[in-house]
């Protein structure tokens, strides 16, 4: 029972992080932009969503949309710093992340003065999010978790499908080109800076959505919820792509989402051992290092049998290269 519950918890958390991982897939994998602003953007999405639910009384879906907008704004700001002011990728992320700490603190004051954690259940009249009353009225604890999994699955799938659709469009092609080779974008008569900005806005928006879903799911908004989220997202992306990325017909969005779920399961089972949560970050760091060390070499090698299984034919190097759709 404990095992099942932990697995469900992990799945729920993983679906939430899947959205984050897909956001980082856009910025990190496509645009080669290790976006540190995630650490500020994630709680911002949470606080914007909570304000929308609690202070403005908006429906939860609208709260999610607002958090997308706030995240896109952060992405645009970081893009401006990098593209227009020529500040390096890493530093523009750090600048935005640092500034956002104050922004989220100030916004939290709209929820409760002097506090940095807001518990939905303690708020009089309640916060009408996706994961609490009236939606979950009368649900047992496990039913609530299952319901959470279902709602987050819908969101993760929607984000995945929309991203897949986007990457099949001309704008999506151009975004991939901008990450791969800026000069080619220029020779196509397009401004690579503008394309990058759009990509960072898309990615930032999804980070905001993930932060908003995370706060709603946990029924609490925590100002420090951004800490360590970059590592979580990067682990999910790198592990997902190296484990599942080479399997035919598995899109990279699916691969990074699966990476996020796998990693969250590992996290949840680790907290069973590490009750106090003291070693959680150490676990994160060690896991990240392990994924980086193994990711590029051995994992790919070991998943050879998976590729064979999914492609339904023996995979020869030459054969794959000349395959035509």
């Amino acid at each position: 029972m404990l095992f099942l519950n932990t697995a469900l918890e992990g799945l729920r958390l993983g679906l939430c992080y899947a959205v984050l991982a897909m956001a980082l897939y856009v910025s990190y994998t496509i645009l080669d932009f290790p976006d540190l602003s995630v650490e500020g953007n994630f709680p911002l999405g949470g606080v914007i969503g909570t304000i929308a639910l609690y202070r403005l009384g908006l429906p939860p879906l609208l709260a999610v949309l607002l958090s997308f907008l706030s995240g896109a704004l952060c992405g645009a700001l970081m893009g401006l710093l990098h593209v227009k002011c020529r500040i390096s990728k890493l530093l523009s992320g750090i600048i935005v992340m640092t500034g956002l700490i104050s922004v989220t603190l100030a916004l939290t004051q709209l929820l409760s003065r002097g506090l940095t954690v807001v518990y939905f259940n303690y708020i009089p009249n309640g916060v009408r999010g996706f994961f609490n009353a009236p939606f979950t009225a009368g649900f047992s604890s496990s039913a609530k978790t299952l319901y959470g999994v279902a709602v987050l699955l819908v969101f993760a799938l929607a984000v995945k499908l929309l991203l897949d659709l986007f990457f099949a469009t001309k704008a999506g092609f151009l975004l991939r080109a901008a990450g791969g080779n800026e000069q080619t974008v220029r020779t196509l008569g397009q401004d690579p800076g503008r394309i990058k900005m759009l990509g960072l806005m898309l990615s930032g928006g999804l980070v905001g959505v993930s932060g908003c879903l995370y706060a709603q799911m946990r029924l609490q908004y925590d100002n420090t919820s951004g800490a360590g989220k970059v590592v979580i997202a990067l682990v999910a992306v790198i592990m997902g792509l190296s484990l599942f990325g080479r399997i035919p017909r598995v899109r990279p969005t699916t691969a990074v989402a699966l990476g996020a779920i796998l990693y969250s399961l590992a996290l949840c089972f680790f907290t069973l051992i590490d009750r106090g949560g003291i070693y959680l970050k150490l676990f994160n760091a060690a896991f990240f290092a392990a994924v980086l060390i193994l990711g590029e070499n051995r994992l790919k090698f070991h998943t050879g049998w998976l590729k064979t299984l999914f492609s339904g034919k023996k995979r020869g190097g030459e054969k794959e290269e000349t395959t035509d759709a």
Binding site: K170, A171, R176, G180, Q183, Q190, T322, D324
Partner: protein
């Protein structure tokens, strides 16, 4: 079609400054295929960069198709200019497939919006198009460009640069990274495309034979100046043997 008028360009790095052009002018008629030779540091590549807007002149003006484009940023100029680089990895996107690269190139000059980039119906026409290059790309449409040979990649870059209407094709030592056989093949393809599409082209090359054999005007540059400008009959009669003494002299003066 192309006009460079009284260009002055100095590159400064710290206290060192190198004057590449003092007062450089060049005008090129529509439909002309110009080959440019010259030793290292003669200003060939700078000339191309000035044409494309990759570097801006200190003084002077650049005209393309009668329009003053001196202040136009590089990416805007490329709307009507195609360029193939020396580096095979520069003109194509390595992680994208041949078909995806071509789809991007075919849309040049139009909006990159939210419509489908690569409908399956477009593949057949694309395959036919690359088959015309004769480098075997038609069987590798779904292969990421990074896995192609240098020759295939340059041929694709050339096709991408010329598959939409352009005013000027710029070839920046585009055969230099290839082995002699592939370089020869790419030159033949280039010549055919330029003739078929009646393009105006500027080709910088280190290969004197290519400069003599291809194109209908030849320019030799040395230290920012034109030392030879042969066209029409004169160019047709020109042989590598005529060029070598002159080229040898400027190369020796420059120390290579």
């Amino acid at each position: 079609m192309l006009e460079l008028s009284h260009i002055r360009k100095t590159f400064t790095a710290g206290v060192d400054s190198v004057r590449v052009f003092e007062d450089f002018s060049l005008s090129l008629d529509a439909g002309c295929f110009l080959s440019v030779v010259g030793s290292n540091g003669s200003g060939k590549t700078t000339m191309l960069n000035l044409i494309c807007g990759s570097v801006l002149p200190d003084a002077g003006r650049v005209f393309l198709d009668g329009r003053d484009v001196t202040a136009l940023p590089e990416y805007r100029r490329f709307a009507r200019v195609g360029r193939v680089y020396q580096d095979p990895s520069a003109g194509t996107v390595a992680d994208m497939t041949v078909a995806e690269n071509l789809a991007l190139a075919h849309n040049k000059g139009r909006r990159y919006g939210l419509t489908r980039a690569l409908p399956p119906s477009a593949l057949a026409a694309m395959r036919e198009e690359v088959a015309g290059l004769g480098v075997g790309l038609e069987d590798r449409m779904q292969v990421p460009v990074g896995r192609l040979s240098g020759g295939q990649r340059q041929a694709l870059a050339l096709l991408m640069a010329t598959c939409t209407p352009i005013d000027l094709l710029v070839l920046d030592e585009h055969t230099a990274a290839l082995d002699p056989k592939n370089a020869e093949l790419l030159m033949k393809i280039t010549d055919r495309i330029v003739r078929e599409k009646r393009l105006t082209a500027v080709m910088v090359t280190h290969n004197l034979r290519y400069a003599v054999e291809y194109g209908d005007r030849l320019l030799m540059l040395d230290r920012g100046g034109i030392v030879l400008d042969a066209r029409g009959e004169e160019k047709a009669r020109l042989t590598t043997d005529d060029l070598l003494p002159l080229f040898g002299r400027i190369s020796i003066e420059c120390g290579n």
